[in-house]
């Protein structure tokens, strides 16, 4: 065998590993593709057997997701003026008229406020705490770090009942503030630990150089440490956002109206006018978009974040 190298994989090895990765990626993305596809099916196609892989795309699911509708009879339809928008036309085709917007938009907005709000707070406090843990002499530092981590040693929902009672006492039930505080608290331990790792990796000499250059300790922190911790902050933010964004159990328990997030709302679409699978799928698809954009924007950092500490430069 000529040109054999220990470190460089052969062409065949590259092909095989490439094939493995691609098939694994296809398997994991299959459910996602199915949901996105279902969102564009008509209700009949969505439940047809055998399942249709090729179908005529329809926006009925999306129209149903964002509107509430009233069923009308054929005779009533004759008396109505022709629909003036494409979505009214779609509703009319299935024998309904649009009576108003649905609550999905507002629930979605709640998810954005609570998800990004709690992520911001978890990162803000997490960075400060991680910096302190990394740089300062703190009595019983190791114990404190352990206590912080111990909040993640059980499923958060295990404390649902005390949480519920506490929220009721404080009037935080079904409020944005309550949910932001809750998700911040759950995420803080993760963000403190991850960020401490990142900040530990930044040599203290940079801050000393900044002190020498005439900056205060705090200026050294935000002008020198923060920019270098950007990678860590970004990947930690993604993890925090994904948790807060997808959280279901507490959202079901503690929100019902004003502050309800999208995850507990989407299942309630089932049951309004039959099992409207395309509308559910459409809701899930739209729900994916913000996290997807956020993750793609920070993708470079995320990869480095997951493998951080594994290889020392």
């Amino acid at each position: 065998m000529s040109g054999f190298s220990v470190t460089e994989p052969s062409k065949r090895q590259k092909w095989i590993s490439g094939l493995l990765v691609i098939s694994y990626a296809l398997i994991t993305i299959m459910p996602l593709l199915w949901i996105i596809g279902t969102g564009f099916k008509s209700p009949e196609d969505a439940i047809s057997y055998p399942p249709k892989v090729i179908f005529e795309p329809s926006l009925e699911g999306y129209v149903n997701l964002f509107t509430t509708r009233t069923r009308i009879t054929a005779s009533m339809e004759g008396n109505l003026p022709p629909p003036d928008t494409w979505y009214e036309q779609i509703a009319r085709n299935s024998g309904t008229i649009i009576s108003g917007p649905s609550r999905y938009g507002q629930r979605f907005l709640n998810s954005v406020i609570i998800g990004f709000g709690s992520t911001f707070l978890a990162i803000f406090f997490g960075t400060l705490a991680a910096y302190a843990f990394s740089r300062f002499k703190i009595p019983i530092k190791d114990d404190l770090l352990f206590f912080i981590l111990s909040t993640r040693m059980m499923p958060p929902i295990a404390v649902a009942i005390p949480m519920f009672l506490m929220f009721r006492q404080l009037g935080l039930n079904d409020t944005h503030l309550g949910m932001i505080l809750l998700y911040t608290a759950v995420n803080l331990s993760l963000s403190v630990w991850l960020l401490k790792g990142f900040i530990d990796e930044i040599p203290f000499e940079y801050e000393e150089a900044a002190l020498i250059d005439g900056y205060s300790r705090f200026q050294a922190f935000y002008k020198v440490v923060l920019p270098q911790a950007a990678t860590g902050i970004a990947s930690t933010a993604i993890f925090c956002l994904i948790f807060a964004w997808n959280e279901y159990a507490f959202a079901v328990l503690l929100t019902s109206g004003d502050a309800q997030t999208a995850p507990p709302f989407i299942p309630t679409i089932i049951g309004v006018g039959g099992k409207d699978w395309p509308a559910v799928a459409a809701g899930a698809t739209i729900f994916l978009i913000p996290v997807m954009i956020f993750t793609i924007l920070l993708r470079k950092h995320l990869l480095r974040g997951i493998t951080f500490g594994a290889v020392r430069k």
Partner: protein, 365 residues
């Protein structure tokens, strides 16, 4: 620019004393070397002068002002770190202008200053580059640029050449010295490399185990070491130590080693017991008339000179002799020592005995 006076400076880390009651004076414009093995407290001393560590006790005067408990920013001192500590998220120009920004200097002034410094250091062409891709030498120049741009009272340098490869180190040490001569700035320089200290320094402090062993100009320290530690640490190969038991009285000008008598500078102290006869390798010569005989164990050829390792009755010594002299391993040779260069040490305390030759150096050292 400023004079720096260190008085009884001490630093404890818990139970560990890093620096014990050090005192010395750094004159205005001096290139001052803090020399010692790792862990001797030289870096801690430097960091205390800069304000990166606060001393447990003692005083530091910069330009007549006591600053030992003042924050870094009020001392007006520049620091060059061993690993340079260039801000990785900024480019070369931003790195150099960073200390000026903190002073609130106008953009036009900053720009002019940076241009001037870049010209001095010959780094005008890399100003826009990110610091990540720079070579070791260029990083070093940028770090120096960041230090000199603000015209501080003094420069602190913590083994600034330690991270460079050998070839570059020599060039940078010349550049550094030239830069110092041009600016005339007080510079305190930490190194563990005795050659570097001798080449570059106006004055050297030798430290060991947190204490100052000796303080003086390089030649004095090399010729008249105050302790066995200094004699051993400075010079390559280091000073030869011939151990003997005997007695020395005031006014003695010779001493007996294994019944052979050797001349020494006139002694000013009485001593008795285990003593050490110290002689630099270049002051050992092969002398066929000498009855003090040793056996050659090894020869290192160095071009113009050769280092000959010789086993004597008082221990193994090294001689630096002309390469022209033909010697062989196993050969027995007679040895002579240049009498005016000898230092006698007390073995137990490690301290050099005062003589007419070294009293001028050790009296005020």
């Amino acid at each position: 620019m400023a004079q720096i006076i260190i008085k009884n400076l001490r630093k404890d880390f818990g139970n560990f004393t890093a620096v014990k009651a050090s005192s010395f004076t750094i004159e205005d414009g001096e290139f001052f070397m803090l020399l010692g093995p790792s862990g001797c407290g030289k870096t801690t001393t430097l960091r205390m002068i800069a304000g990166l560590e606060l001393p447990t006790s003692g005083e530091i005067f910069i330009d007549g002002e006591e600053v030992s408990q003042k924050p870094v920013s009020q001392r007006d001192i520049a620091f060059v770190f061993q690993m340079f500590a260039l801000y990785p998220h900024l480019n070369v120009r931003q790195n150099i202008s960073y200390p000026l920004k903190s002073q609130g200097m106008s953009k036009a002034n900053i720009s002019a200053k940076v241009a001037e410094v870049a010209q001095i250091l010959g780094i005008e062409d890399i100003l826009k580059k990110p610091v990540g891709g720079l070579s070791g030498g260029d990083r070093q120049r940028v770090a120096l640029g960041r230090a000199i741009v603000r015209e501080p009272k003094a420069f602190m340098m913590d083994e600034p050449l330690g991270a460079l490869d050998a070839e570059f180190r020599e060039r940078m040490s010349e550049e550094l010295r030239a830069l110092h001569d041009r600016m005339g700035a007080t510079t305190v320089y930490v190194t563990h490399d005795q050659l570097e200290a001798m080449q570059m320094g106006d004055k050297i402090v030798v430290m060991n185990h947190g204490s100052v062993e000796q303080f003086g100009v390089p030649q004095q320290i090399y010729d008249w070491p105050a302790t066995l530690f200094v004699a051993d640490f400075i010079g390559s190969p280091s000073m030869n130590f011939l151990e003997f038991s005997g007695e020395i009285s005031k006014g003695d000008t010779q001493v007996a080693l294994s019944r052979q008598v050797f001349g020494i500078p006139a002694q000013l102290q009485n001593a008795k017991g285990d003593l050490v006869f110290g002689v630099r390798p270049e002051h050992v010569s092969l002398d066929d008339n000498s009855e003090y005989i040793g056996e050659i164990m090894a020869i290192e050829y160095l071009g113009t000179t050769q280092i000959v390792t010789i086993k004597t009755l008082n221990g193994v010594i090294k001689a630096r002799i002309s390469a022209a002299k033909i010697v062989e391993v196993g050969q027995n040779v007679g040895l002579a020592f240049d009498p005016q260069t000898i230092t006698i040490f007390d073995k137990a305390s490690g301290v050099a005995l005062l003589s007419e030759a070294n009293k001028g150096v050790l009296d005020h050292g």
